[in-house]
Symmetry: C2
Subunit: 180 residues, 2 copies
């Protein structure tokens, strides 16, 4: 759908980094006026709602620099260029949790911040986990701690703001609906 389309007549790349790129687009609005749009380009990401045989959600705790605190999230990671989201989801699950799975089921995908970023998260679910014999290496500059929490524990962690991000809040709702 192109309703209310904003046509770009000039685009400037301000910054191109390891993960994100910042563009400023000059646009023509539907009423003919012009405006500027600050746009973050992101490669996209995946996340996995992974349930153990005991019905616990597999999580990882890690430091998140933008908020200057560590939070507890479902396993997730960025897409490599051209990478299939499901392949990426399995890789991140294995790297971050030490589990693998033969059946990741697609749940949904969503843009995280449609006002200024094109980051999309592809979300998968599995309740069929196998522990890996050998844990693969993760990224060099990532420090994560694995945890397994029940949905009830996750809700308490959310109230305490130790779970505090969109995909993990979504995962809690997904599991609550599934358990009913």
């Amino acid at each position: 759908m192109k309703k209310f389309e904003e046509k770009t007549y000039e685009s400037e790349t301000i910054y191109k980094g390891k993960i994100i790129q910042l563009d400023i687009d000059s646009v023509t609005l539907p009423d003919g006026n012009t405006s500027k749009r600050e746009l973050i380009r992101h490669p996209g990401a995946v996340a996995v709602i992974a349930l153990t045989d005991e019905g616990k959600m597999v999580c990882v705790e890690q430091y998140r620099k933008p908020m200057e605190k560590s939070i507890i999230e479902i396993p997730a990671g960025k897409l490599e260029p051209g990478e299939d989201p499901k392949t990426c989801a399995l890789r991140e699950l294995e790297e971050e949790t030490g589990y693998t799975s033969e059946d990741l089921e697609f749940v949904t995908s969503f843009y995280t911040s449609p006002g200024f970023a094109d980051e999309i998260v592809h979300l998968y679910f599995t309740d069929n986990l196998q522990p890996m014999v050998e844990q693969p290496d993760g990224d060099d500059d990532e420090f994560v701690e694995r945890m397994e929490v029940s949905v009830e524990e996750a809700e308490i962690l959310e109230k305490e703001e130790r779970i505090h991000d969109a995909k993990t809040s979504y995962a809690i709702m997904y599991l609550k609906l599934r358990n009913r």
Copy 2:
């Protein structure tokens, strides 16, 4: 929680715009090595899950430049400096939908992209809407169209990727749980 803290030893502001700011922080990692973090500073946002007397979810369709398409979202907007989130939620509800409400109930808050941005969304719910006699003006450069959809319709729109963002996907799950 400061587990795995990454201490900043240098910070550079690359861009400071209307909505976002881009900082590059040089950090010391827990193992003593160093790395860079690309950080988007955002004022934060609010969103409202608003149910009409007919049990329909109030939505707005608008063009989202980062994705170059228009999508259907729950009403939302950015916080002004120092603004109380609930006040902001009521303002955005009124500006975007023409409804007001005397009881907005806090649902949860979540960071949208904890890997690179500090944007937080504060989410509210109301099923007590009153049509406004006079519709307040919205932002000059915002073009939105109001819609009201049932949860079932919203799920179809989500499959069609016309609903395609985290807060609205969360809202659908919230209403599905509430209706059970």
